[in-house]
Structures are given as structure tokens and as C-alpha cells.
Symmetry: C2
Subunit: 460 residues, 2 copies
């Protein structure tokens, strides 16, 4: 029993299973999915025949990594373009057995379409419930959801889990921020689901409304949709201002059910439900070379249970590292200690250093006096790429500066700027100039933040 | 079996039951609900004690109408104000057993909160499925939903039914109109759910995009949220332009599950599932005086199954009439031949005539050459109220006029205007001046239309 009188796990046998025993089950499911895909899904048959791969070659998890070709978003888009609407990987699912159709924004305005069978949809609800239960959601909670309910899976995945847990669901979607907060306080919502950027943004909105988030009703934040939910300084800032634990969850739309990973109540990184979506970390230049715990590489996902549009060794282009150390929550799954660290193609090379937007975010969040919004500008100067950061002061800091003499205010700004640059140096090993902006100078982030402005393609 | 090989009814025994036998079941449920409310819900206890009513007094359906006091929206709002958040009519439901919290827009910014138990929520899915099945929705259909998924019940009720039917659900919510149509055609959505105003609005958008709705994929339109879905001329216009049947459904948020009524495939008015929500038509000045079939009066609703916030003799202020004539679809429920005709307090008295906005809508929809948008302006001139109507020309008509000589165009406009005024005279018995506007002159309706502009309170 937990502190509130509920059982501790959603599915104790599954979540605390001996990892070696779990690997046996995972291998069985991998073999099943490989044969299903090879026999019934032309997309995989073509891909595997071209690579000279056959499912019979996989007799171990090591074989799986060593021998099975990866697939990418680009391959899925091309297959849907050539075989509309759902591609030849749509799976052996009759129209009558389809529960959901969703989509993602696509280049040229045509979305990638997702088509989920009833069986897969039902199963997704259960694993999303397992994830949210692991984050502490219980039937007594009121779960307010700010993710949109529209074309993307966004809010739909969150609500499925909260409904299955048995929480009271309050699904507002992305309404105006002041209304979002007023209703949250009025209703006493104990759980709030949003992007980390939006949680940061609401800190400022709450101050303007005179609402004290830290003494407010919310006890846990289920965040996702972007990486910030595992950036330590971001998590610390949100946790302190909200007086609530931060739980990072969610992989990608291709991998629906996307909550096969979540920060549990142990708050020690993102746990991976590998018996639902098997997850590997491999070398960024060689998808058949597994990496040991702690080494950063590319993440690769495999659906173990989906019939409709199953992904086998899907390469989303995300970078991170794994650990198999035991978790104090008692679950025996591996974890991503820092969640998704960044996108492989987001890496910027600045004067020889590898810099990720998440490094910049971590540095700024560790600097007192700054607000939620910032941008990173990258430009070419001569033969070198250079980076500058524009960061807003927090509303309180701006208000404080307004009470000072001009000289004192200037000194205080210089000190904040110096501290920000010191934090960025610590994160990136290079000097990154920081420009301070007034609160409100940058566009407000109400959904996912767009941080990087890349001017390298433009004439200078 | 129906033409597509599915069973004809969702629940044949229930839907085709002998009405006398159904009334026995209804009376049992009414007695159960009255006792439950009187014993466990202080709101009802106070109200009934004040009126000198006791549940034991109801031994027949006639007793129910004659003896049970009605309740109104105002009473619910006051009870929630005095007993936040959910009022003393919230019902005997533990926090752990609450599935959903939704709200309605309220005066002074505080919504009325709706709180639905898990049992009631599950049951709502089933009756919504029964309604949508009666309108012809089947598992092979793709159901695109444009109602919002947010604070209001709107889209949530529609999606519950479509999911339970087993259709492929494509829940876009209120996205941009051109995107709504592009995705509809791309995906081949066979069912579209929207307000009637929005269906009309999309006719013009489709023309601009060069999409032919009539030969498009949509075969049925599930409409609601406002009365137009049963205004014959509106239905005719939508049916012709879309090449699809129009099914009017939905009562009020208080009465969730709101799809306890729907235009079935027989297309002969709105059928009432009276064994889910018992429905009476009574005299507008005496809620205890039942009216016979065909006579217009006030509608009164009663939840027969809800534990959470059950409504017993709820008076929404809507006006209509009923029929018990058999329906060709074989279901044995009564019907509202014209759906909800209007709101009792929407009635305008113009030179002694009772005029409803629905009369104006019906007249304009019968006039060739007009577009979707119109407004009704009411002003005081001396001691009399006067009404004028502003109606947009359709884009095709405007384009046609632009090709004519000035004299010919003027003559054509005069003819359209005269025809509109003739149609309004036929509907209202009085002369209503019509002013023709260019397409786009009035704000576009993308959700519920706001038609009446009342200037009587202003200085003239």
C-alpha cells in the first residue's frame, strides 16, 4: 500500500519482474513481431529482403541489435506517399477494427497518418495507466490536461491513461493561461499535464494573477512533448515554483502508446517499460553497435505488441544514455537518467565544441534573475559558426531593477549577465555571449518552445 | 441486417419495446430517482419539502407531471454558488468514483461545474452509441469530429458514442476550415460532426477550395449545439450541398448524456430515448399541465439512471412539440417532429406577432441566392419593436451579379430581396425588411451562430 492507501504498482508482477526473465518474454515478442512484419507487411518484407535479413536470424536480443535493419521517419513518409494513406506498414487490420486515426504535421502540408487498431488502442490505455500510476496518479486525483485534443496524439494519450487510472479527468486543452490557472485553483486540480515550457510560462502568469503556485493544489506535473522535463535545472525551477514533482514522459507519435516511459515517484530519471516498447542505445554512426550503460548514443525503439503500424527498430534521431542500476521505486526496468538529452541533428558545433540546446537551457535555468523565455541564435562569421543567447529577465527582477538608481540597475544587469555566461561556459566549455531582454520581449511559449534561430543559411 | 451487413439496432429489445411496457420501466426508474434524490441530495429534499411534495405521491407518470416541482438552471447555479463546487445535488458519489469534470460558461466567469461518476460516464457511452447507431454510424465509418474538446461537454459526448459504436474516430476539433475540409477529403471521412451553422459555412469554403462536397466522402452529418438541424429549409440546404443526411442530436449539458435524442435514419424528426431521459411537453405557464401531441409547449427532462447530479424535471426553457406516431425505422420511442423549435425566452413580439429566430432562418434558407450568414436586428421605434434582417448573398450570386450590367444587377438584387421578404412574411405573418449584404460582410460562423442583435436597451 502507498501513503494514500492504494496499491503501490499498477501491475506488480510485470513491473518488478526479474530482468532476465523479462528479457525472455521480450525476445519472444520480438520474434513474433519480426515474423508478423515480414509475412504481412510489405514495407518490412522489402526492407528486410534488400538488407538480406530474415527473422529466423534473431535468436537473441544481441542478434536483434546486430542484424535487424533500422527504419526512419523518412522511410515511413515515403511509404505513405507511395501507398496512401497508411503505407504498406499499416498492418493486417480491417477497417472495422480501427479505433483511431491521428496525424502529425508533415512537410508539404500532408500529415503522416497514424491508424490504431482497437486492440492496440485498448492496450495503450493500460500502459499509459501503468506509467501515470508509477508517477503517483491515483483515483482520488483531479487531472487537468492542457495538451491539445486534435490531430496530434498529444492530449489523447494523456487522457487515455488518466481515465484508465480512474482519476477525475478535467480535459481543458490549451485554453488561455489565466483561465487555465483560475480553473485549476477553483477546482483544486492535483495533477497538471503540460509541456515543461508551459509550466515555466505559467509561473510568470501566476505571479501576475497573484496566485501562489507553490501553495496551490497541484502536487504532480506530467510533462512531455519536448526534452526539458529531464533537464535538472529546469526540473528544479519548476519543482520549486510549483511545489510539485515533475514527471517526464512520452516518446514519439510513431511509437504510440507514447507513455511507455516516465519519471516514477523515485524521481531518478525516465523509466523505460521495455516489455512494451523495447529500447536500445546504439552508436550514432552504427545502429548495430550497442553501447554500454552511461555512453551517449542514438535511441532505437521497437513495438512489442502493436498489430497496426508496428515499429521495429525505429530510429527517431534522439540522443541519450541508459542505466540498469536498481531504482528505489522497486521497478526493475532500465532508465534514461536524463531522459532524452537532445536530437542528434540538433547538435551544434561551435568552435569545435559539441553544443546542444539542452546545455543552454540547463545553464540559464541555473542563473538567478532570468525568466522562462530564451532563444539561441547561430550565425556564420567568416568561416566559423558563432552562437549568442538572448534571455529574458524575470518579471520580479525587472520590477526590482526599476526601483534602483540607473547605476545600480546597470551593475545588477551586468552581474546577472556575467553569471549566465559563467553557467553557459560550465555547460558548454565555450564562451557564449548572453544578451538580456525585458520580460515579454520574446514570444510567449504556450506549447512547445522554438528556441534555436539559425541564420547560417542567410547572407551576412 | 442493414444494407451494409450490420445489425439494424444497437439494442433491439430496448429500442422496439412495446411503449406501454416501457412506461412501466420508466415509472420504476422515476420512483427510484425520486427516492434517491429525496433521501441523499439536500438540494432536492429542500425543494420538495418546500413544495409539500414527497416521492410516495408518485404512483403513475401522470402523477409525476402533476405533482413533482420543476427545477431550473438558475436554481442549480445558486446551489453551486452556495455550496461549491458541485452543489448539494452532486449526488452520493465518492471522489474516487468520479470519471469526469466538465463545465459550462457561466455569468461572472465562474462556470457551472459538471461532475460525472464512472458508472454514469460508462452508461453515457452506451446511449450515445445507441443514438449514433440509429443515425446510421457503423464500425466501417470514419467519424470526423469538429466540436471542441475542452471545458464543455461538446466533443466529448460525440466521441464517446463514436468510440463505442466502433467507428474509426478522427477527432480534429475546431481547426481551420480549409484544413478541416482538406483532411476530410484526403482521409475519406464518411461522417462529420459539427453545428448546422458550421456545415452551412463549410459549403462556401468548399466552393472557394474547388471541392465538391456533394460528391465528397461524407454520407452523414451529426449536427447539434443549436436548433438549425431540424429547421426543414436548413436541413434541405445542407443535405443538397453535402449530399449527406442530416441528423440532429443533443439536449443540454445538464442532461448529459446529451445524445438521448437523435434524427434516426428515417429522417422524420428527433427521436427521444425516453427510457434514458424521460421527456415531457407541458404548458409554458404551467409545468404540471401536460400537452397533447402536436401542441407547442415547454420541454421537461428527467434523468432515469444518473447517480451524479441527476436532473429531475429539469426545465431548460426550450419550446417544442411531440408526436407518438410510429416511425418507419421501427423504434417505438416518441419524436420531436421539428426538434427544438426555439427558446421560450427567444420569442420576440413584433407588432403583436410571436416571432422566433428559427422562423427567420427557415425563411432565408428557402430563398435562392443567399449565403449562410445572417443577423436579426431588433430595435424600438417609438413604442413599437421593429425587426430587420441582414442577409449575405452567396459567393456564387455575388460573382454572377458582377458579370451583369449595373441595371440588371440592381434588378436581380431587388428580386432576391423581394423573395426573401415574401418567405419571411410566410413564416412570421408580418413584413420584415431585408437588407442584402456582400459575402463576407458578417463575421464567419465557425461554432454556434449568434444571430440576434437586440438594440432595444440602447438610446435611439
Amino acid at each position: 500500500m502507498d501513503a494514500r492507501g492504494y496499491r503501490r504498482y499498477w501491475d506488480e508482477e510485470r513491473e518488478t519482474r526479474d530482468p532476465a526473465r523479462r528479457d525472455v518474454l521480450i525476445l519472444e515478442r520480438i520474434q513474433h513481431q519480426l515474423h508478423y512484419a515480414y509475412e504481412r507487411l510489405p514495407f518490412y518484407r522489402r526492407h528486410y529482403d534488400t538488407a538480406g535479413f530474415h527473422p529466423d536470424q534473431v535468436q537473441s536480443l544481441a542478434d536483434f541489435t546486430a542484424k535487424v535493419p533500422i527504419i526512419t521517419k523518412k522511410m515511413l513518409v515515403e511509404d505513405q506517399r507511395d501507398n496512401p494513406l497508411f503505407g504498406t506498414y499499416q498492418g493486417d487490420v480491417a477497417d472495422d477494427d480501427v479505433a483511431r486515426i491521428q496525424g502529425s504535421s508533415g512537410t508539404s502540408g500532408i500529415p503522416t497518418f497514424y491508424r490504431v487498431s482497437r486492440r492496440d488502442w485498448e492496450r495503450a490505455a493500460d500502459v499509459h495507466a501503468m506509467a501515470q500510476w508509477a508517477a503517483g496518479l491515483r483515483p482520488c486525483d483531479i487531472a487537468q490536461i492542457s495538451f491539445p485534443f486534435s490531430l496530434f496524439f498529444g492530449g489523447w494519450g494523456v487522457i487515455q491513461g488518466a481515465e484508465r487510472v480512474g482519476a477525475s479527468v478535467f480535459p481543458l486543452g490549451p485554453i488561455e493561461s489565466d483561465r487555465q490557472l483560475e480553473l485549476m485553483f477553483k477546482l483544486g486540480a492535483t495533477c497538471f499535464s503540460a509541456t515543461p515550457s508551459y509550466c515555466l510560462h505559467l509561473i510568470g502568469v501566476a505571479e501576475q494573477l497573484g496566485l501562489d503556485l507553490a501553495s496551490g493544489p497541484v502536487q504532480r506535473l506530467l510533462v512531455g512533448g519536448e526534452p526539458g522535463g529531464s533537464v535538472p535545472a529546469t526540473v528544479a525551477r519548476i519543482t520549486e515554483a510549483w511545489g510539485a514533482s515533475v514527471h517526464d514522459a512520452g516518446s514519439t507519435s510513431e511509437m504510440y502508446p507514447f507513455q511507455t516511459n516516465i519519471t516514477t515517484e523515485a524521481l531518478n530519471g525516465v523509466m523505460l517499460f521495455t516489455d512494451e516498447v523495447y529500447t536500445e542505445i546504439v552508436h550514432r554512426d552504427d545502429p548495430h553497435q550497442p553501447l554500454p550503460d552511461g555512453e551517449r548514443g542514438a535511441i532505437v525503439y521497437t513495438h512489442l505488441w502493436r498489430d497496426s503500424q508496428p515499429m521495429i527498430r525505429f530510429w527517431p534521431g534522439d540522443e541519450t544514455y541508459m542505466t540498469h542500476e536498481p531504482s528505489s521505486c522497486g521497478r526493475t526496468y532500465p532508465r534514461l537518467p536524463e531522459g532524452i538529452v537532445g536530437r542528434l541533428d540538433d547538435m551544434l558545433i561551435i568552435r569545435g565544441a559539441n553544443v546542444y540546446p539542452s546545455n543552454i537551457e540547463a545553464g540559464l535555468r541555473s542563473t538567478d534573475g532570468l525568466g522562462a523565455e530564451f532563444t539561441i541564435t547561430v550565425e556564420r562569421r567568416g568561416v566559423l559558426d558563432e552562437m549568442t543567447v538572448q534571455a529574458e529577465l524575470s518579471p520580479e527582477t525587472a520590477a526590482e531593477l526599476a526601483t534602483l538608481s540607473a547605476d545600480d540597475a546597470q551593475a545588477r544587469r551586468a552581474a546577472i549577465r556575467a553569471e549566465a555566461e559563467r553557467q553557459l561556459k560550465a555547460q558548454t566549455q565555450i564562451r557564449v555571449p548572453v544578451e538580456l531582454l525585458e520580460p515579454g520581449a520574446l514570444p510567449e511559449t504556450v506549447f512547445k518552445a522554438r528556441r534555436v534561430i539559425d541564420l547560417r543559411g542567410e547572407a551576412t
